[in-house]
Assembly symmetry: C2
Amino acid sequence: MKQWEKNIRQVTPYIPGEQPKMEQVVKLNTNECPYPPSPMVAQAVAKMDCGKFRLYPDPEVSELVGAIAEYEKVPTERVFVGVGSDDVLGMAFLTFFNDTKPVLMADVTYSFYDVWANLFHIPFETVPLNEQLEIEPEDYFKENGGVVFPNPNAPTAIAMPLSSVEKIIENNQDVVVIVDEAYIDFGGQSALRLTEKYDNLLVVRTFSKSRAMAGMRIGYAVGSEKLICAMKAVKFSYNSYTMNQAAIEAGVAAIRDDDYFKKIVGKIVETREQAKKKLTELGFSVTDSKTNFLFATHQTMAAEAIFEQLKERNIFVRYFKKERIDNYLRITIGTEKEMEILYDALREILS
Amino acid sequence: MKQWEKNIRQVTPYIPGEQPKMEQVVKLNTNECPYPPSPMVAQAVAKMDCGKFRLYPDPEVSELVGAIAEYEKVPTERVFVGVGSDDVLGMAFLTFFNDTKPVLMADVTYSFYDVWANLFHIPFETVPLNEQLEIEPEDYFKENGGVVFPNPNAPTAIAMPLSSVEKIIENNQDVVVIVDEAYIDFGGQSALRLTEKYDNLLVVRTFSKSRAMAGMRIGYAVGSEKLICAMKAVKFSYNSYTMNQAAIEAGVAAIRDDDYFKKIVGKIVETREQAKKKLTELGFSVTDSKTNFLFATHQTMAAEAIFEQLKERNIFVRYFKKERIDNYLRITIGTEKEMEILYDALREILS
């Protein structure tokens, strides 16, 4: 090994859900939306002025921030946008988690939280979910340097009632509390309005799930003006331009088409409720999902074996070989047709 | 101040060049290309399948990496892409600069290098340029934890001959050497082929200047397979999806249209050479720019005053109130028409 190789940063690579390149697969492994984005997105792209690409994009991203602020009924000063909610969350960690006390996060939760904590030298402590894989608000009442949790949680799919979320915030007013609402549109109760009551609450959202825009990388945060102002300062201090012109214009179109948004979310929720029944009939236990995926464990067959056999049939779901959840599958809700293919395959595999 | 506010990260905000929102300005302040991107970019956007936006983009960005590799005549394993060269450079700092010895950078250079060093807790040392504002290769022969410099340097616009660049690399084989070639297409000698000889050399490029794509945020690095592999591991460890689908498709189209690229670069170089003469006639001293901007100081009138008076006439150039260069203007090369407006305004201001 050469001298310079000794100074390469050592990391544990993240293994994202497979993005198979062949056609003809049923892809239920990365919680994407089974429907295309709003037709208004295609219209916005069609009339895009590519001549503008020669200029740097507006660093304040005012157009998209404005559209989101209007949608969420908050002033523009309370909105921060980024390259997917991963970018927004990472920026929030970097901006707010600078205490010597540990940031609290669940033991089973979104897998990037501890990665960012390590990346930014942030001490953290994992708090076990209860036996039913739920977050217990009281577990977050102890001294800490910040709190972060998704609601609904992933990959468990379980939502906390708003009263429990508020209990956590109420008892943590000396630190920043981040509620990651990537999946909130599928049935959870949002904490967004609580940002008016608690200036230390940051609510993070994404266009990747309910708005069918994973490919365009758009996420945002809503919080008090103080929180958003601090995030902007950190962001501008080291990378002023991250949202490209196409994402800005497509994003504005997507958030303005509320009818389409409600229609596809409604369809996904309907398919999910049906899927809960079907999987239960097939011998699975599923959590009470309020997301666009199911978290399921089978009474007799090991999750990993089901995962492998589905894959052989070109059906991709997600399996995490991780303590506590290594007998669960995370299954994205697809179209009704895709789900029928899944049920048929499961019937075969389990028979 | 509330308790949580004490834990907000303290930063010095970066002030990017103004992006005036009114029309009718002459914008020569952020080194953008005065010409639109290749017509093939508009074609690629017009035929973009927005239905695909529902899916996460290919995390390997294979399509764009492939097009760049083909253009640069290197294997795909030696190419890394990111959201503008800022993203690529930041990732390189994070990946390679983990020594306790200081990273060497010039005292007058791209303003984000020390910002990233601070952000990632990287020790660094600034090495003064010589009296002619040039990099002296010998100054970089001392012990260090890495070396980074732009060639041509910014904002001085001065290029180093390839032999000097190689001297720096030759004398620094125990660390990673990053050559930031954001402006190389306008007349400098690229170190890209040296990546075949030195496995510790990383050459970074951008689509923002010579490819007229600042608005789409695309940058890339070419280096040995070992270097690129390490950068990918770090990137994937904390944010797998950053390049959006539109940037990928527009980027492929842009790099494939070599004729158009050569045409606009040729025009800019021609206008630049003319601008050198014109500014000299107006009493400026200009460095021997090999970039798409001029670095100019006037014999009698203070740079800041010229800057302010140009701004009053809706002509935006860049002024840095910074030691050693606080009597210089950085003037982006615009279209010939824009430059004529500039010359006229300067004539008025200086008379």
